[in-house]
Structures are given as C-alpha cells and as structure tokens.
C-alpha cells in the first residue's frame, strides 16, 4: 500500500485517487468500492449517489477548480485533496487557504501530485495535514521538513496570528 504522511506520521494509505480516463464522462464514471477520491467534476454530477455510498468518498481539486463549488458539501467529505500537477504551480496553496480559513473545512486536507519535501513547510502552514510525497522520494525527509522553520512572521491556517500579535506585550 502506498505511504502517506498524516498528522505527522507515516501511515499506509487506503484511499484510491480516481482520474477521468480519456473518453470517460464524469456523469457515468464507475466508482470502485473502497475509499475513493473523485475528481470535482464527478462529485458535482454524482453528488447524490456518492453521498449515499457505504464506503467513504472524498474529492480532489485541480489548480483551476473553484473550492466555493463544494463549500456546502464539506460535511460530507472526510477527505479533500488538492493536486499539484507541478510543484511550481502555487494555486493549490490558495485553494487550501480558502477551504480552511474561508469555508471552515476541518476534515483531512491532503496534498497530492508533485509534492516534495521542500514545499512541505508551506503546504502545512496553509492547511494541509496529509501529504502524499512523490513516490520516488524519501518520505522521512519530507516528514522532517515540516519543521524546517520554528519562526513565522505572517498568519496562516497553522498559527493564524501574525508574529506581531504573538509578541509579548
């Protein structure tokens, strides 16, 4: 089973991330049993069926997906993943920030795709608490990178008060 960093521990990942194959339509995509992360388009079109399902279901968002679309569905989603097709595409950081701070999502927020140790600190701060580091890299290194810095100036999901509000008066 693939590995996942979840709440600062390396764990086995039982979730399967589903992608639309060429020619496959979101309305008719067949959802296999077991815990799955479906593309946003599939969630939007199969929402009612998916909510009725026995196995857990989550959604993954690409960089262009608008998180407001699932703002009313958050209670049904134990896991939301944000996919980074390339680590240099930083839109997912704003997606995470919006899900946590604007829409108040409290479930598992997972970074998937081109997730590397050098982005871990930032990813964690904007609200990710689960990470699928790229399979060819050392997962322990990624875990350690969560603590690259002990100091932060600005507020974010993790430590929402900027430094100037935390200083001793």
């Amino acid at each position: 089973m693939p590995k996942l960093i979840k709440q600062r521990r390396v764990v086995e990942d039982s979730w399967q991330t589903l992608f639309l194959q060429p020619g496959e339509e979101p309305e008719t995509m067949i959802i296999p049993p077991g815990p799955v992360l479906v593309p946003l388009a599939v969630w939007e079109l199969q929402r009612l069926e998916l909510r009725e399902r026995n196995d857990p279901v989550g959604v993954w968002l690409g960089p262009e997906d608008e998180p407001a679309v699932i703002a009313d569905d958050l209670v049904y989603l134990p896991v939301i993943a944000v996919r980074f097709p390339h680590f240099k595409d930083g839109r997912g950081y704003s997606t995470a920030a919006l899900l946590r701070r604007r829409y108040g999502y409290t479930g598992e927020l997972r970074a998937i795709g081109d997730v590397l140790r050098d982005q871990m600190f930032y990813l964690h701060r904007v609200g990710f608490d689960a990470f699928e580091p790229r399979a060819d890299r050392c997962i322990e290194g990624a875990l350690a990178a969560l603590d690259d810095f002990s100091v932060t100036y600005q507020g974010a999901h993790v430590q929402d008060q900027p430094l100037f509000r935390r200083r001793a008066a």
Partner: protein, 563 residues
C-alpha cells in the same frame, strides 16, 4: 535602521540550514536540475554564463557600516574582491562556488543579511525612496512600512509559487522616488484629513511588455496594508496566467481584466479578510517605526557654511561635485550625498571590497553609520553635515567615488549584460563606457543637464531602459549584437515609457547616435528646459532624424531586411 531580534535571527539561520540541505541533496544527485533551480533562485542563486551568481538582498536599500564590511568580506573571501549593486537594490557576487554558497549565506546571516526571495516567482525585495526619512516633501517615512512588508512577505506560505516574480514599492510622498508605477504593486503614502494611508497602484512592470501601474485604491487606511496586499496577492496567485511565462506578471492580468474589474475582485476577496488578524496595530507600527527614528542630529547648525562656500570658490572640482552630488536635507545644516559608482570605463554599479570598507568607515565618521543604495546604482550617505563636505569629498576622490555625474548623462544605469548575464542578447557595459568616452568634457555634460540614460542587455529590462529619457536595449539579430534606442521614458510621478525610434543600431553606432540626439536637444531647447521637456514639446521626429544621420546605409538596409 532596523535591527534583527531573536525571531529574525532564528529565521534567517534556519533558512541557511534549509538551503545547505538543498545544496547537499543537489550535489548528491537527490534533486533534479529543475527542482534545484526553483529552490536555489528563491535564495538568489543563479547559474550564469561563467559561474553561479548570488544575489544578496539589501532590504529597501539600507545598509549599515557593519553590513558593508560583511559584503566586502564575502566578496573577498568567496569571490574576486568586488560585487555589483543592481537597479533592484541587491548586491550580486559573480563568481561564487556553488558548494560554498551556504557558507556565504551563513556569514551574511551574522551581519543580518540574506538572499531570501531575491529571485524566483515570489515576493521580492521592497523598494523605497532613496532619501526616505530625510526628504523635504515626504508625507511619512516609507521605511517602517517596507519593513512590515518584508516581514509579512518573507516565507509567506501561500505566495511562494506565484505565476511570476512580484515586486513591491513604498513611496513616502508625492514625488515617488521609489517608482511605484514600474512595480507590480506600489503603496504611495498619502494623508486624507488627518489619517495616514496609501494610494495603491498595481500592474506596473518593465520587461517584454512594459506597462505602468494603475491606481486600484485611492485611499487605503494604513491598518489595512497587509490584508489588502494579501487580497491582491490571492487574486493574482489564483488567476494570473501560468501557461506562458511572458504573460504571467500581474500587469497582464490587470490589463486583461481592466483595472476596475481587478479592483472589484480584490475588494470582493478583501471583504472576507478585512479586520482579520493581519490588520496592523498601532503598537506594531510604533514598534517598527522606533527603528527608523532620526539620528542624533546636531541642532542649530547654520544654513550656510562659510568654510564650505570658500572651499567651493577656491576648488572648482569640489564645487562641481557639490553641484552634482548633493541633495537637500530636511535638517538645517545637513545634506545627503551621492557616492557615484559610475567612474568612466568601469562597470556601472560595481564596487570593490576596499571601496565597501572605506565607505563603511566614511559612513561611521560622517553619516551615523548608514548608507542607502539607489535604483540608479549609486550609494547615498544620507546625513552629512555641510561643514564636513570638503573633507568627505577629498576622501571620495581618493576612493574613485567622486565622479561628479549624478543625475547627468554619464550617470548611466546599466545591467551587467552579456559580459556576465546568461540571458543577455548583447553586452551593455561597453555601450555605457562608449557613451561615457564621448562625453569626457564635464562642461558639456553639465550643460546638457538632467538626463537619464538606461541600458539593458535584453528584454528583461534590468537596466530599466523603458523609463530612461534615453533607453538602449540589446537585441540579438542572427547572432549579432544590435541595439534599439528608445526616447521619452521617465521616472516617478511623471513616469512614461520610452518609444523605440527605429531600426536597431550596431554597437559602434550607438554612442554617436546618442551624441547627436543630445546635440539636437542642445540646439533646440528653450532656456532652462530639461531634455525630457524639450523632447515632449518638440516631438521625437527631429531627434530620430539626427540619431540615424550618420549611420551607414548598408547598416540600415540590412536592419530593414532583418526587422
């Protein structure tokens, strides 16, 4: 001047450790070339034509004597004993060795310096007016706000992988010597009734598609500086183009949406975060401002100094230098002084370790131990007693830092260009030196008066050629170096983008063309009229005809074919 506290010190040291680890992993083959590229540029490290280049931040252009000595030390120990001040308030080392860069950064951290976010698609070093805190017409000192922005933007988790680089300027008042209009986002301090706030500009930038910033908020009360900036950044991070790096700057997004629509989206975003924890407090602004209080000026100095006047009368060279290098100061009996890094025949902006150390000593002796770096690649000593000017000048002459050219034609702003820069289309320094060589007569240069001449070696416009009254841009024509000339650019609140006057010129023809353009100005100007004003009044055609007058027809024809 701002001093690090334990938080700053810890953060910069942890950043050095992180970068050391990244460098080691790269050297061990655990990071790909591309992955390391994105990581190293966020710490100012380029791989250049001949060697790596390390870009060190000079936050909003301020340096202490200790920091000057620190730069001198790393330049000597890890490089060839000199470095280069850029138009973007950075200090560049041209020949460091990659495995030793973490050691350089560790040494810099000891003098409260770093290379964090001096490159890469993130928020860069903030620019302020070079005479911040001493200028006459200042509404408020921009430096505390720039320091607040520095802290907020340093390792900002949401905005480290923007579509493209992002540059911010804060200007202290109506003159805008920070050039907010050529920055991605600019904050211009304004007062409304008794309230302090900012006029907010966005969408400026030079490069391939030069655009001047537009106002998206006429008055932003100071408390909201950071929440508003975050709203701008978030709209840009989410909706800025990422499919084409040449269209990825915020200016393209603002242009595509229109400033009004962009402002509306920012407002909509801001509505959610306004009054949030990032709202600034008076306590914080006071805390940061306390680092930028006035130095202990001598009070009740005379406005004029008899000895100074006498020295000027007796020493023509000194008089010239005073005329061209000294700026008015808010405190009676003091002036600010430009130390010119434009000695003819040298690379503009270059400085040796010995010079850096000497400047550190002079700053301590005469100017409370602080200097400023300018966007025109010079150094300013901000607080000089008039009575010390003659002594100071003699020292500067000795150091080669007293070229009396500030603000004049030979004070050329020029990027490193093809001699060093990997991205260059053409060399820029030989053009600057060639023009300087045609204007060796100081009387002529002074007679020409205020004239900004800017040279860039490629589209990236590090030499800010678009906003030079005369701009020169290196272009590559089938492997040969050619140069486009632009006229009519300007800085600050009168900012304008220069227009290309015609086919590009061979390197040999550029100094002559500049010279004829300038001669034309002298022949048609009204008494007291600046170059830029004559150009605006008379139009570009006459200048253009002069520029091409002596260029060999073969050259022009070949150009036309290639154009």
């Amino acid at each position: 001047m701002y001093r690090y506290d334990d938080y700053d010190r810890t953060l910069v040291r942890e950043r050095v450790a992180q970068f050391r680890n990244q460098t080691e992993r790269f050297l061990a083959g655990q990071l790909s070339v591309e992955e390391f590229r994105f990581l190293r540029v966020q710490n100012g490290l380029y791989i250049q034509r001949h060697a790596p280049m390390l870009r060190i931040a000079v936050p909003y252009g301020l340096l202490s004597s200790t920091q000057l000595r620190g730069l001198a030390h790393v330049a000597r120990r890890y490089d060839r004993g000199y470095g280069h001040f850029t138009t973007r308030l950075n200090f560049q080392l041209n020949w460091p060795e990659l495995p030793r860069v973490p050691d350089i950064l560790a040494e810099l951290a000891e003098v409260e310096m770093h290379a964090i976010q001096t490159s890469g698609n993130c928020i860069r070093n903030t620019t302020v007016d070079p005479l911040a805190g001493v200028g006459h017409r200042e509404v408020a000192d921009p430096r505390p706000w720039a320091e607040i922005i520095r802290q907020w933007s340093t390792l900002h988790p949401e905005f480290a992988y923007l579509p493209r680089k992002f540059k911010i300027a804060v200007s202290g008042g109506p003159d805008d010597d920070a050039n907010v209009r050529i920055h991605d986002m600019g904050f211009q301090l304004v007062r409304r009734d008794d309230e302090l706030g900012f006029r907010v500009w966005v969408g400026g930038g030079l490069g391939r598609t030069p655009i001047l910033a537009q106002v998206i908020n006429g008055f932003l009360p100071w408390q909201h500086l950071i929440t508003y900036a975050e709203a701008v950044m978030r709209v840009y991070n989410r909706f800025g183009r990422r499919d084409n790096p040449f269209k990825a700057r915020i200016k393209i997004l603002v242009k595509a949406l229109g400033a009004e629509e962009f402002a509306r989206q920012v407002e909509a975003e801001w509505a959610h975060t306004k009054y949030g924890p990032a709202t600034l407090t008076q306590t914080e602004v006071d805390r940061v401002s306390a680092y930028f209080t006035q130095p202990p000026y001598q009070t009740s100095l005379p406005a004029t100094d008899g000895a100074l006047d006498q020295a000027r009368r007796n020493d023509k060279a000194f008089d010239r230098w005073v005329e061209n290098s000294v700026h008015a100061h808010r405190v009676v009996g003091y002036v600010a002084v430009t130390l010119s890094l434009k000695a003819p025949g040298r690379r503009p902006g270059d400085i040796t370790s010995e010079q850096l150390e000497s400047v550190a000593g002079l700053a301590e002796r005469f100017s409370f131990g602080e200097v400023r770096i300018t966007q025109t690649q010079n150094i300013i000593l901000p607080d000089i007693r008039c009575a010390d000017l003659y002594l100071l000048w003699q020292e500067l002459v000795h150091l080669g830092l007293a070229t009396p050219a500030t603000g004049l034609l030979t004070d050329i702003t020029c990027c490193p260009g093809g001699d060093l820069c990997e991205l260059a289309n053409a060399r820029s320094v030989p053009i600057a030196n060639g023009i300087q060589a045609l204007f060796t007569d100081q009387n002529t240069v002074e007679d020409i008066g205020e004239l900004k001449l800017n040279i860039s070696g490629c589209m990236n416009a590090c030499g800010h050629h678009h906003v030079g009254h005369i701009g020169v841009l290196g272009v590559d024509k089938q492997g040969k170096e050619f140069y486009q000339v632009t006229l009519g650019g300007a800085w600050g609140m009168e900012a304008a983008l220069g227009k290309v006057i015609g086919p590009s010129l061979a390197a040999n023809d550029v100094p002559g063309a500049v010279s004829r353009i300038v001669e034309h100005y002298r022949s048609i100007r009204n008494p007291g009229e600046r170059f830029i004003d004559t150009l605006r009044r008379a139009g570009v055609d006459g200048f253009k005809a002069e520029a091409y007058r002596n260029v060999s027809p073969a050259e022009q024809e070949r150009e036309a074919v290639n154009a």
